[in-house]
Structure formats: structure tokens, C-alpha cells
Amino acid sequence: MSVIAVERIKLFSTRSPWWCMIIAAVLTVGLSALFLGLAPSEQKLHATITDTQGGAQLSQMVIMVMAALAITTEYRFGTIRTSFQAVPQRAALLLGKTFVVAMLSGLIGVIASFGAWAIGDLVNSSANLAIDSAAEWRLLAGRGLIFALSAVIAVAVGALIRQSAGAIVILLVWPLLVEQLVQLIPKVGDDLNRWAPFTNANSFLFQGQDVGAGGGPGDATSYAMGPWWALLYFAGWAAALMTIALVSASKRDA
């Protein structure tokens, strides 16, 4: 498993991944503290665990940027050639990178979601924020899975685009804009939205949650499938994109 050691050394020997990790965690935790701490007391009373997770979406974007940069900077600085020279089995090397980046992203996801919940619980003593349903566990722990899978998608897109700015634009515009705007297409728009990958990532996290004071995304009828199927579906997207990226990287000139 030397490729994992290689990518671990690479990732932790530059500073930017550290920054991304800190920003991602601080965003989620900080926004939770702000939202629950500054909410009017009427709202505080009805706050739920979902309300503590407002910053997670933003953190996920930061994580995806970090994951994409892990590969696009290799193309930018030419180190991808040194890498493929050291490990000509390109797919193995890229899988090693994906594994390291995804594990780290998952870890940050879990730290961020539980951290945000803990701080929310701390600043808001008027509502019961105990984790006492399977859905709530899914929301908090599941964030790690979604971060990890999002990172896989980001590495795949980065490996395909090979260029930081382009990859980042795609990774930000796709979940934030494209998946929302397709709803405007007559007739098929709603279906396209329901079957879009990041919509299903959210569906996995938010289905059956007590949306509480802040209001939550969508009602139950708009989900295409149950939460665990939605997770599997999202994972399918990640796997498919990664496969395309690996085939492409193995065929194209480095």
C-alpha cells in the first residue's frame, strides 16, 4: 500500500490542505454557534439538531475544493509526471490519492457535524438537542460519508479537467446552481432535480429530520428514494466518475 503512504506524505507536506481542513471545521462549528446563539428565544425553544448543521453545506464546498486541488496542482506544477514516473500504474496511484483525500474529508465531516452539534447544544440550553433518533445519527455521522464521497467526485473531476479554476467552477456551480436550475425546465425539470447526485446526498442526510426552527430542504414527497438508497445512488455517481477519470488518466499523455 505504498501509494497511500506516498499520497499521505504529499498531502501533509504542503500547507493548503491544513488550511482547508481548519476552514471547513471552523465554518460549520462557528455558524452553528452564531445561529443558535443569536436566535430569538422563541426560535431557540424549537431548535433541532438540523439547525446546528447550517454551515456544513459550505464546508463541503471547501472540502471539495481541497480534494480537487490535490490533483490539479499536480498537473499545474508538473509533479504528476514525477508521480507517474515513480508509479507508472496510474490508476493505483490515483486511487491511493482518492483514498487518502476521502478518508481525511470524511474525518473532517464527522468532526464538523458533531462539533457543530456540541457547540449548538452548549449555547442553546432551552431546547432538547440530544441525539435520540436513528435519523439524527444519520444526519451527524452520515456527514462524514457525504464529505468522503464528495471528495471522490472532486478528485475525479480534477483528474478529468486537470486545471484548478475549471475544476473548482464545475464543483461549485454543479451542486449550488445546476441541480437547482434544472427544476425550471418544464415537465422533466423536477425529475432531473430529484435524480441529481447532490440532491440525493442531501436526501440521505435530511430525509425524516425534524427541520425545526430554521426550516429544512424540501418535503418528503420530493425525494426519489429512501435515504440509504439515496446514499448508494450518490456513491454510484462517485464510482462512475472515478472510473471515467482513471481510464482517462491511464490513456492520456501525462
Binding site: 501509494v3 506524505i9 506544477f77 509533479t79 509526471r81 507517474f84 514516473q85 507508472p88
Partner: protein
Amino acid sequence: MIEAKGLTKRYGATVAVDNLSFEVKPGRVTGFLGPNGAGKSTTMRMILGLDTPTSGEVTIDGQRYRDLHRPLTKVGALLDAKWVHPNRSARSHLRWMAASNKLPKSSVDKALDMVGLTSVANKRAGAFSLGMSQRLGIAGALLGDPEVLLFDEPVNGLDPEGIVWIRTFMHRLADEGRTVLVSSHLLSEMALTAEDLVVIGRGKLIAQSTTQEFVDRASGTTVKVRTPQLDQFAGVLNEQHLATRIEDVEDQGKVLFVEGDLTTDQIGEAAAAHGIVLHELTLQRGSLEQAFMQMTGDSVEYHAHEEIAAVTSLDAPDAAEVAAGPKEDN
């Protein structure tokens, strides 16, 4: 041994490498010579499996690079000193390379020591001068103690001290019995560094021979003649089917040059036979670079055929066949 057979690479409409066949022998420094854009870097990327040939193949001891197990222990290469993350320290850069081929941690310190970068090993590579980057690249190439080494224009942009250092280093590597392939666009540089030459122009093989043979062939001699009976003597020589050229030389007026590797004896006798007064008769060696430019420049098509014939008789019996024959495996 590195062996290329009918190596061809197209980028869209550009043919960067065109049906190139050559061999690099072990235990020697082989110069890979060609003008800018000749396809040297492209060939080296194909040797390392980074670019896939459009057709043909190149092997290292019979194996394609992509099939090598722990390739850094077999082939070390420095194609571009800038292929390092600027925010990563020299040591971290070598550490991940070592880890990739299961090399011991001590190999990193050894390589750093060998190129004299130990004191700056923990500095970010982005702050390195070109000379230091080049040394870091060489450290990376030497990390796995490989038998085969590739260097792409390693002296480009270096100061004289750096150039001498690299040159000495290459000789040391070859003396240790390693195979060294080093590219350059300067024949004069290669004449000092390499024992063998593979010369290419516009992606095609121009010559493969020892450096000495190539230099002798490239720098043909001319005989310089100063005479008050310039036109008359030129006429005499032309009648004997000798190529002449008249040039204005500073401070000397019009001067006659006779080409075709003749001796001064022959010209002197011809002058005596026709009662020509001579003021000067000297043998001149052509400039290496000029001859090289002629061979690789506009006349590349013509010379390619001529030289391939020479190669056939020298040491690559199938080169001409592969180079001149029609492409079958496409």
C-alpha cells in the same frame, strides 16, 4: 540498454517524433542531440511512459517502462527541474518518491548529500535557484540507485560552475557503469560530455555514431586560398570539378575557399601547374555548430537518407530498414 524501434509521436497535425530507431548502450554517456523542437523531450517522455507513442515502441532492457516494477530502481530521470511542488520541502519531495518505490528513508539523505543539498533540505523547493532545482532533480533521479539515467538539457540556464558540476557528475555516473542518456541542442557541449551520439532533426534520426566519428564527419575541411589571380584559379579548380566559393574576408579582400576535404598539397600542386601566385594556403576546420546546423536544418530530409546509410554500416543494421521502410504496424 534503451532501445527505440520505429518510435512515432503525433500531436494533432504536428509530427514530433517520426519513425525513430536508436540504441543507447550501457556504461557510456550517450548524447541525444537535436535543435530546438527536434523531439528530444517528447522522446524522453515516451521512454518514461509519460506519453504514449502513436506507433512503435521503446524499451529498457527489453521492458516497457510501464511494466517496470519499482521503476526508480531501474531508471532515474530528470526531464524538468521545475516538476516539484513549490511549497514542498526538498526532503518531503524525495520522501514521497522514496516511499513510492519502497526505498529506505536513508536513501533520501544519501541522495541529498550526493548533490550537496543537505543544508537546505527543509527549505521550500519554490525558493530554490535553477541550479539548486537541477540538483534536487538529480537527487530524485539517483534516489533508487538506478542503472539507467535520463537527463533532458541538464545544463540549460546554468552558470559555468553548474555546467562543470553536471558534466563531471555525468562522467562519474558513467564510470560507475551506468547508462546515461543526456539531451542537448549544442554539439559543442555534447562533444565534451558524450562518447556516443544519437542525432535527430525534426523528429527523424540523422545519425547514430560515436561522438568522434560524428564530429569528424560534421566538421569537414576547407582550404583557404589567397591569390591575386583569384578568378583564373577558381576557373582552373572548377574545371577539375572542385567546389569553390569566393568570400569577402575583412582586411584580406576576396578570398577563395575550396571545399571537399582536400589537402593543401593538392591545391598547391594545382596552382604550380598553372603558374598561379599564392599569398596564402591554409587548411581550415569548419565550425562544429555550423556544420551541425546544416545537417539538422533545412537539409534534414536529404541528410537523413545519406546518414542513415552510414548508420547501417556502423552499428545499427536494422535502423535503415525500420527508418526507411513503410509503416506496417499502425
